[in-house]
Symmetry: C2
DNA sequence: CTTGAATGCCTATTTGTTCGAGGTATAGTG
DNA sequence: CACTATACCTCGAACAAATAGGCATTCAAG
């Protein structure tokens, strides 16, 4: 039943994946765990979220994919491209802006006389 | 051309409106300006975003609406209900969770040996 | 007295992304 | 042989934000 647009999640999967892949290249299944760990269990993304985002980032040139065989297992490793680095910086800026705005609004005391 | 899903905005309009209305009751047109001010110009929401959210919050019982005439102008004032207060707290918690998770992920140094 | 800006409300449509549920296949363990 | 973990994938539903419009009123300027 796909309750789809949980608050505050739009753009987050893309940002997290780009950011994790800026540290080292990884494969999809690995990223599922990495997201949980990196966000300290605050955010968990299913494979149904990860793979489509990975594919769209590859198509847009932000990631490069390479199939590798590791211990009898076939994996698709994704690495950040120069374009992906730029996209990451763009998204970080956006995140900062939104986050600052929301913080300002939330900080405002409830019964301000100002 | 409705570039629709800008990153990181899902849930934000609802959160901001509930939060502003927790301070005092306001009308739609006023909220358009209030959002800009409260977020220090970081976030600007058009009327096309504000009004639909207001209506849906009223329908769900988070806001109560009352038509008032002020200086020859007819305005629809919205006030936070008890249910709206609860919804605000719920959203704030969600925001905190996502924000913490993203912060954790972004903080991680790029070349961690850990 | 007419024009335009500002106020004030509203809706239809586009867009595209997240999500759960499902499906496939292989490796390794009991 | 069954079962779990690994590893990849796709589909459809749900849904919310944004733009671009439209309507009506008030008020100031020319």
């Amino acid at each position: 039943m796909a309750r789809s647009n949980p608050p505050f999640m739009s753009g987050v999967p893309e940002l997290l994946l780009l950011r994790l892949l800026a540290q080292r290249e990884m494969y999809g299944y690995e990223l599922v765990r990495s997201v949980r760990v990196a966000t300290r269990e605050s955010i968990a993304l299913g494979e149904g979220v990860i793979y489509p985002v990975l594919h769209s980032l590859e198509k847009s040139g932000s990631l490069s994919a390479s199939r590798k065989s590791v211990g009898g297992r076939s994996r698709v490793y994704y690495a950040l491209t120069r374009r992906g680095q730029a996209r990451l910086e763009e998204l970080q800026g956006e995140w900062q802006r939104i986050q600052d705005g929301v913080r300002s609004a939330l900080e405002e005391p409830l019964h301000a006389a100002t």
